[in-house]
């Protein structure tokens, strides 16, 4: 059975429009959260978000093709191209049927539904765009990546709320292990910045209201945390079979060791308070890779900054790791990147891969006042140089979907 390796990194995020810029800002504790600029947020209770900055679709794709894509698909295509370029991926026509895409999303082109609905109501049915359906459909991230890069193997699009991004790596691993693909462009994308979801999540009391201090709003594991910060962006990794990667002498960042999924079977938004659903995914993920708690040095935590998540995730890590929970480092990329929802798991995966590759644990910023319920080593405020043999990325979604993926150092 061939192993699955990470050979290319691509990212369009609120803290950087390349994987390198993302990582540098992540390690330096730079926040991507600002007052919302995409629309006037004045009448919303939450006026901050983590926006992608300076994104020009034309730099990555044909502008006419871009006009037929929802923003989430544009971000996915851009991240996929960056990843393919980073990997030096060149596909022959014979290889294309064995090249796949797996681009997860939370809400796909929901933003187009909101906008076209307005056209329908205000200007009538004759003015509705003929591109609306093939733009908003949530499979279009995967399909547009396939079209742009000429990937003719499976095109998968998992929808699992805030765990979505991690599903793409479970799928990529399965496609490679079962011999259905040699290369998979895998990741997540989300771009749903609009007053409607902001209003809904604010009314749900899920979002931080620290409007006056955007950079300090997302404070995972801190006693004064008051919710997550809505974000947008995309991360795509090139997952390649060891056989193909070796044959072309590819640069390897890490091995995608494996992962696991579980469902809380509990509540539409709240996690199980004791974290047993999440713990089950973590334990099963380690088991599936043939690893034990003693082998994991770092966790890119889900760490949303909501009161419920951070406490239950802490309990889940303690349940899954036992005494090793006190030894390992975990941190929340969301403290800087914001919560990229369907792309959040892919952000965590990228953080885990880079952490292994650089032997650095990125920090949890804004963790200033410890919460007695959150008493693990969250790498507060400053990044830490440390040996990282294997790292885990966590993602837990509304509906109780849990995803957990493990990467490890590739020794060749």
């Amino acid at each position: 059975m061939t192993r699955a390796l990470v050979t290319g990194l691509g990212a369009i995020t609120p803290i950087g429009n390349t994987a390198e810029e993302f990582w540098n800002n992540l390690v330096n504790g730079v926040s991507g959260v600002t007052r919302i600029t995409r629309f006037d947020p004045s009448d919303l209770p939450v006026q901050i978000a983590a926006e992608v900055k300076d994104f020009e679709p034309g730099r990555y794709m044909d502008t006419k093709a871009a006009r037929r894509m929802s923003r989430f698909a544009q971000l996915a295509v851009a991240a996929a191209k960056l990843a393919a370029d980073d990997a030096g991926l060149k596909l022959t026509d014979e290889e294309r049927p064995r090249a796949a895409s797996s681009i997860a999303t939370g809400s796909g082109g929901a933003i187009d539904t909101m906008e076209e609905m307005q056209v329908l109501m205000e200007r009538g049915p004759a003015r509705v765009s003929p591109f609306y359906i093939p733009t908003m459909a949530p499979n279009m991230g995967a399909c547009q990546v396939s079209m742009t890069l000429g990937l003719r193997g499976p095109a998968l699009a998992s929808v699992a709320a805030c765990a979505s991004g991690l599903y793409s790596y479970i799928e990529a691993k399965m496609l490679i292990e079962t011999g259905q693909a040699d290369v998979v462009l895998a990741g997540g994308s989300e771009a749903a910045l609009h007053p409607l979801p902001i209003a809904a999540l604010a009314n749900m009391k899920a979002l931080s209201r620290r409007n006056d201090e955007p950079e300090r709003a997302c404070r995972p594991f801190d006693a004064d945390r008051d919710g997550f910060v809505f974000g947008e962006g995309a991360v795509v990794l090139v997952i390649e079979s060891e056989v193909r990667a070796k044959a072309r002498n590819a640069k390897v960042y890490a091995e995608l060791a494996g992962g696991a999924l579980s469902a809380d079977a509990y509540h539409i938004t709240a996690p199980r308070e004791d974290g047993t659903g999440a713990a089950q995914a973590m334990t099963q993920a380690m088991h599936n890779c043939g690893l034990t708690p003693a082998d994991i040095d770092y966790i890119a935590a889900h760490g949303t900054g909501t009161p419920l998540n951070d406490a239950s995730e802490t309990l889940a890590v303690k349940t899954a790791f036992g005494k090793d929970a006190e030894r390992l480092a975990l941190s929340s990329p969301k403290s800087m990147v914001g919560h990229l929802l369907g792309a959040a798991g892919a952000v965590g995966a990228l953080a885990a891969v880079k952490a292994i590759h650089e032997d650095v644990a990125p920090p949890t910023i804004n963790l200033e006042t410890p919460d007695p319920q959150c008493d693990l080593d969250y790498v507060p405020l400053k990044a830490r140089k440390m040996p990282i043999r294997a790292a885990m990325a966590n993602g837990f979604g509304f509906g109780g979907q849990n995803g957990c993926v493990v990467f490890r150092k590739y020794e060749g």
């Binding site: 502008t63 006419k64 037929r68 004759a126 003015r127 765009s129 003929p130 591109f131």
Partner: protein
């Protein structure tokens, strides 16, 4: 105000993402300007929007079937009394 051709050209450039120099009266949408069927529907909606304040008209499906070139749009608009 810009003349009719210039206004139509600007809409075509915006909708089809083509170079203004390519948009001549004889330019064929599918062959010269690389438009597909969805682009043409989208273009007719944009033309309706652009000229909606000057005449009460609609580009029906049977009208759209006869639109192949930029000149066809100019002729259609002139027939609606727009110049």
């Amino acid at each position: 105000m810009a003349d009719l051709f210039e206004r139509v050209r600007d809409v075509v450039v915006r909708q089809l993402k083509v170079d203004p120099a390519e948009v001549t009266p004889t330019a064929n949408f599918t062959e010269d300007l690389r438009a597909d069927s969805l682009d043409i529907v989208d273009l007719t909606i944009a033309i309706e929007e652009e000229f909606s304040s000057e005449a009460d008209f609609e580009i029906r499906d049977e009208d759209a079937e006869n639109i192949h070139t930029v000149q066809d749009i100019l002729d259609f608009l002139k027939a609606q009394g727009i110049s």
